[in-house]
């Protein structure tokens, strides 16, 4: 069963080795992980850094729901997801998901499910700072 620490928004750098240790379990044979790093470009523009922000109360609740769904859908032993907020430089780790399971198929499927759903549903926003000096809220281009 997921515990309350499975999903969290973090204002500090993610300590991935530490998170991985939490997934170690002698029953598990497979660990699938996903890391998202800040890229130096997006849609042709040179990105200098990124700022992530969140609506913490709902983000943590929704992230937790996603982990619970992963436990319902896939035969997994443990899952952890962390999303960084604050200012991040190029190469910084924005998101980490790790899933352990007895079999690799379930570990991959659940890991991918979690990152897809986190990206699609959890209220986290990304502001890009370009080399040109401009900034942009990603995905917010629609006009009324």
């Amino acid at each position: 069963m997921p515990n309350p620490q499975t999903f969290a928004i973090s204002g500090e750098d993610l300590e991935i080795e530490n998170l991985k240790q939490q997934l170690l379990d002698s029953h598990a044979g497979a660990l699938a992980t996903f890391e998202g790093w800040v890229r130096n470009h997006n849609e042709g523009q040179a990105v200098e850094r990124l700022e992530y922000s969140s609506y913490p109360a709902l983000a943590n609740k929704e992230g937790q729901r996603i982990i619970e769904e992963a436990f319902e859908k896939f035969e997994i032993d443990a899952a952890i997801a962390r999303h960084r907020v604050g200012m991040l430089e190029i190469g910084g780790i924005a998101v980490w998901v790790g899933v352990s399971a007895a079999h690799r198929g379930a570990a991959f499927d659940a890991c991918r499910y979690i990152i897809e759903e986190v990206k699609g549903r959890v209220p986290i926003w990304k502001k890009e700072y370009y080399s040109s000096g401009a900034t942009d809220w990603v995905n917010c281009h629609q006009e009324t």
Partner: protein, 80 residues
């Protein structure tokens, strides 16, 4: 007129210039409330691009509001 607590995030926070405010409104739903605030503050996002949360849970735009509710209009997410 009733009182609503509004929290702003991301682009809406930038366009409003505030993290949060308390407003008096006769809006009965989140949809009506957003229309009112968008006109007043020049928000650029249409409701079709937004989601809404009432008291820290996702909600329908047409759900009736109660005085004292905390309402958050959620711009398109972009985690990861």
């Amino acid at each position: 007129m009733v009182t609503y607590n509004i929290q702003y995030f991301a682009l809406l926070r930038e366009q409003r210039g505030l993290d949060a405010e308390t407003v008096e409104s006769s809006a009965a739903t989140a949809e009506e409330l957003y229309a009112e605030l968008a006109t007043r503050h020049g928000f650029t996002l249409p409701t079709t691009a937004l989601k809404v949360a009432i008291n820290d849970d996702f909600s329908k735009w047409q759900a009736p509001l109660s005085s004292g509710d905390t309402i958050v209009f959620i711009p398109p997410v972009a985690g990861g």
